[in-house]
C-alpha cells in the first residue's frame, strides 16, 4: 500500500466505524484495492468480527458477492448467503468466516471515471434482519 493511500485508508476506516456504531449491523467491513501492482484487493478494516481470518482473503474480481461488486460496480445483497456452495458465483468467504446470514455490499468508486476501487460490506448473523434496498442506500450514503 503506497504512502498516498494512507489518507484514503483512514477515511474508509472511519466510514466503517461510523456505520458500525450508528446501525445494528453485526459486521461491517471495507475492502480496498492496493495502489501498487499486483493491485490486490483485501479487507483493510472490519468491526464486529469474531476472528482474524478475514486478513487472509484476497478478493477476486468477479468471484463471490464482493468480487461481483468490484467487477460490475453494482451493489448486491443476499439473505441466504450461507446456503451457497463454495463453487457458487455468489459464495462469500467473509460471510462464511464470520457466519453472516444476510449481507449487503456496495462499490467504492473513484473519480474521474468512477472506477471501482473497493467494497463496503455489512451483515447480520442468525437472520437478525433481512437486507433490502434501504440497506444499499444507507451504505451508499455513508460513502458520500
Amino acid at each position: 500500500m503506497g504512502v498516498e493511500q494512507a489518507p484514503v485508508r483512514n477515511r474508509y476506516q472511519e466510514v466503517v466505524t461510523r456505520l458500525y456504531h450508528s446501525s445494528n449491523y453485526d459486521f461491517v467491513g471495507v475492502a480496498l484495492r492496493e495502489n501498487q501492482s499486483p493491485h490486490l484487493t483485501r479487507w483493510i478494516h472490519v468491526l464486529g468480527n469474531t476472528n482474524e481470518r478475514w486478513r487472509r482473503i484476497v478478493l477476486r474480481r468477479g468471484i463471490g458477492l464482493a468480487g461481483l461488486v468490484v467487477q460490475t460496480g453494482q451493489p448486491f445483497l443476499n439473505n441466504e448467503i450461507l446456503q451457497l456452495d463454495y463453487r457458487n458465483q455468489f459464495y462469500c468467504p467473509i460471510a462464511r468466516l464470520e457466519q453472516l446470514t444476510n449481507v449487503v455490499a456496495v462499490p467504492i468508486t473513484k473519480a474521474p471515471f468512477n472506477q471501482v476501487v473497493g467494497v463496503l460490506l455489512a451483515g447480520y448473523r442468525e437472520h437478525k434482519k433481512e437486507m433490502n434496498d434501504q440497506d444499499i442506500q444507507k451504505l451508499s450514503q455513508y460513502l458520500h
Binding site: R60, R61, R87, F113
Partner: protein, 353 residues
Amino acid sequence: MLETNKWIQKFFDRSSDALLIFQEDELVLSNQLARELLDQLDLKLTYLLQVARNKIAQQQNVVDNCFNCAILDHMPNHIIPLTLTTKTGQKLHYSITYQVLDEENEVLAIELKSQEALHRANELAQQKQLNQYVNRAYEDERKRISRDLHDSIAQGLYSVRMGIQRIENEKLSSDELQAIAEMVETQLDDTLAEVKGMALEIRPSVLDSFGLVAALKALTKRLQENSGVGFTVINQVNGTHLSDDVKSVLYRVAQEAISNALRHANPTEITIMLVTHPNFISLEVIDDGDGFEINSNKDDYNGHSMGLMNMNERIKALNGTFNIDSALGEGTTVMVRFPITKSNHQKEETINE
C-alpha cells in the same frame, strides 16, 4: 401351443441359473447348467433339497417369534446363501431361491444363482456409474474453463482495449490519463492473476518443474486467499523418488479433498502432510470441519463424493491405498499411501524443498 412349449423348454434349458424341480425326493427336471454343475460338484441332491425344506420349515415354525413377521413377509423370495465345493476343492458361492410349485404333490423348484455373477454385475454397474461421472466431470470442467475464459479473461481484455481506445480518441486531462493508465494496469494485473490461477487449477506446471510440494504450496496459497481458510503444508519427503503418475494423483487427491472440505465441511484450518516412511509415502489432508458419519460399508463413501471414488480407482491402479477417517464434529482426514522403491525405473523426480 406345441411351439410355445418348445420355447419354454429352450428358455428353461439355457437359463443362466441352474434350475432343478423336485417331486417328493426325486429330481424330475433340471436344465443344462444344473446338470453341468452337479457334474462338477461333490454334492448330493438330497442336501440341496434338505436346505430348502429346512428353510420352509423354519419359516412356518410357529414357535419362532418371527412367524408372521411383517419384515419377513417383505423379504424377497426366500434367498439362502450357500457355499459349494467342487471336486477339485474350489469354493463356489451361490444363492438358492426356491419356490413351492405344488404343495399337494410336493413339487419344489430350486434355483441356484452364482453370486460371482451377481457380484460382477454389481461391479459393472458401479463401473458404469463411475464412467458416467468421469465423463460428466470432464464436460463440467470444460464448461467451467470456457466460462472463465469468457467471463474473466475476455472481459478483462475487452475493458483494457476500451481504456486504450479512450487514450487514443479522447482529449483527456493529465489526471484523466493517469486514471485510465491505472485502470488498464489494474485490469491487466487482474487478468494475469486469473490466467495463472486457471492454469494452476487445470494442470500446475510447477508440478512438473518444481515438484509436488511446490505445486501444493501454490494451490493452497491461492485457496487460502479465496476462502480465508488457513492452510499448512507439512513436508517430510526430502529426496523421495516419485513417478509422474504418482505425483499427479497425489496432487489431484489433495485438490479433491480440499475442494470437498471447503464445500461441505466448513473448516477453519486444513493441514496437508506429506511424509516418507521406509517403504511408502503418505499424503494426509486433515480438516477441522464438521465431519460426517462414514458408512460402515467401505466401498461407499456415504455418497459423499464420486470424485473421491474416482480418485480411489486411480490410486488402486498405481498400487496405492486410500482411506477416509471422519466423525461428526471431529473433522475429516483423507489419507493416501503409495509404495516406494529406491530403484524406480520410471521417469523420476527428486523432491527437494
